[in-house]
């Protein structure tokens, strides 16, 4: 046992722990400022100023919001299942954070005599892992709604669960077409294949569109925020929640948004590849560390664009009716995804046959 412990690469473990801490911290920080950005974007789209009182341009607004949530009274409903009631928001947050483990945030950094990869786990089933974790996200909604012991919460939770499950199908099918082209499930590999600047969105525009729509549905964002429809269900599954438990649910949504933007940028938009620049020759000329920093910045810029897109859509498109949502999912997106898959497969076979029938 001792020899096993001694032989373990402690440097690797410490390196990964530090990376995990940094990524969780960054995700939470980004989520914090996403709430601010959301309010600002909403305001600008509605011809308003948005929060501008806390600090210059209101940049301390998220701190004020957090302080407010922390200082609120924590109420657990009398007839609720106490354990599940606490578990719900925790699970929502956990699943939101877990996805970030397989996202490659950048290339390699040379520090302390080590070659540090900016990806927590380069598992060869990265995309399957993401799907597994994302489908666990249903439990956060479902358990929260169930444990509240409230009809509206339960209705909202059921709506949310069926919506997430329905859209996961189309999401998976849209990715199958892409995976036929990549031939790998590893996120790192997929980014490496796009390093020459030919992003997969150019080959799979329809697949990207379907994935985007499904990502909206998975994140419970407008136009698919039926599980928290204020006007119909009194805020849905987190109606009974208060204080930081509510904060966790709201926060999990923003973390989800950040991570799904990261996944979309990784799979379809080249991940940390710097556009219009040959990364490997840049790295040789200017050093690997500078390259890695620029790659991370580039990746975050891509994520930022997607996050803005999420918000932009939220303040443009009204909520779908439930039957419209189901029709769009089952009767439009899934057939389109299957069609996309068939056409892609046909073209791949044709290319392997040197464009002869």
């Amino acid at each position: 046992m001792h020899s096993l412990l001694l032989s373990a690469d402690w440097g690797l473990i410490i390196e990964k722990m530090v990376l995990v801490a940094i990524i969780i911290g960054v995700s939470l920080f980004v989520a914090m400022y996403e709430t601010y950005a959301e309010r600002k974007v909403a305001a600008f789209i509605q011809d308003r100023h948005g929060p501008n009182r806390a600090g210059p341009f209101g940049i301390f607004q998220p701190l004020a919001d957090g302080l407010k949530l922390f200082s609120k009274e924590e109420i657990v409903p009398n007839h609720s299942n106490k354990f599940l009631f606490v578990l719900g928001p925790g699970l929502a947050m956990l699943t939101a954070m877990m996805t970030s483990a397989v996202v490659p945030w950048g290339g390699h950094i040379h520090a302390f005599g080590r070659d540090i990869s900016l990806q927590i786990a380069d598992v060869n089933i990265g995309i399957l892992y993401i799907f597994g974790v994302v489908s666990m996200g249903v439990y956060g909604v479902m358990i929260g709604g169930w444990a509240s012991n409230n009809k509206f919460s339960l209705l909202a939770a059921i709506r949310g669960a069926s919506q997430i499950i329905s859209y996961e199908l189309a999401m998976g099918l849209s990715l199958i077409a892409l995976l036929m082209m990549t031939g790998t499930l590893s996120m790192h590999e997929i980014v490496q294949q796009q390093m020459d600047g030919r992003y997969y969105v150019l080959y799979q525009p329809l697949g990207f569109l379907i994935f985007l729509v499904c990502a909206f549905a998975e994140c419970n964002r407008t136009p698919f925020d039926l599980s928290e429809a204020e006007s119909e269900l009194n805020f849905g599954y987190h109606q009974e929640y208060s204080s930081m438990k509510l904060g966790f649910y709201l926060f999990a949504e923003y973390v989800n948004m950040f991570i799904s933007s990261a996944v979309m940028a990784t799979i379809f938009w080249g991940g940390y590849d710097i556009p219009f620049v040959n990364d490997s020759s840049f790295g040789l000329n200017h050093g690997a560390n500078l390259l890695a920093i620029l790659q991370v910045l580039c990746f975050f810029a891509k994520i930022g664009i997607f996050v803005f897109f999420f918000m932009w859509v939220r303040w443009t498109v009204p909520r779908f009716r439930y039957d419209q949502l189901m029709k769009l999912g089952w009767k439009t997106l899934i057939p389109l995804a299957i069609l996309n898959m068939l056409v892609t497969g046909f073209l791949i076979l044709l290319r392997q046959n040197h464009w002869h029938f």
């Binding site: 974007v41 600008f44 789209i45 509605q46 443009t316 498109v317």
Partner: protein
């Protein structure tokens, strides 16, 4: 059936085409509209820093006026209280004693003069009713407060500053208008 107006529109209930079912073209159009709004001028007035100018006929909180020598003009005739549709004005009259000629213009004056600002509707009828030009509506708003009693304004709050003793405060209170 004959249409009731010439502007009646027949609403088509055609089933949606496949393109419409995708919602993509309409959504793209709508997103163009919202994106355009980001760069539009915002109509917001950032209130404490920026204030909108009031219209010249704005009717704000009442002021009890003094004449040029600083004597109170009010003679407590009660016409303003009678004219007031909201019954916001109460007053008590008192007789001017010898030696108080520099305080009150007429032989009778208002010892107590109260306006309940929660009742007042700022119609300006008191100003119109006053034969002595003693009460008029200024350009200021009634400031907010936490207790109801503080909204009953007495002479302390209503009386304009003395024109000879505090000329600057008087000029400020008078504003652009006056008796």
């Amino acid at each position: 059936m004959q249409a009731l107006t010439s502007r009646a529109k027949v609403v088509g209930r055609k089933p949606m085409t496949f393109l419409e079912k995708l919602y993509i073209p309409v959504i793209a159009k709508a997103m163009g509209i919202t994106f355009g709004h980001i760069f539009k001028k915002k109509p917001t007035v950032s209130y404490p820093e920026q204030r909108r100018t009031f219209s010249p006929v704005f009717r704000g909180v009442q002021v009890l006026n003094r004449d040029e020598e600083g004597r109170e003009r009010c003679t407590a005739c009660g016409l303003c209280a009678v004219a007031c549709p909201a019954e916001a004005i109460t007053m008590e009259a008192a007789e001017r004693l010898p030696g108080e000629e520099d305080l009150y213009k007429e032989e009778k004056y208002a010892a107590r003069y109260e306006i309940n600002m929660l009742r007042c509707i700022f119609c300006g009828l008191c100003e119109e009713a006053c034969p002595k030009d003693a009460v008029y509506l200024s350009e200021t708003l009634v400031p907010s407060n936490f207790n109801r009693e503080s909204f009953v304004y007495g002479k302390k709050e209503l009386l304009i500053p003395h024109p000879l003793k505090e000329p600057e405060a008087y000029a400020r209170a008078r504003g652009e208008r006056g008796s």
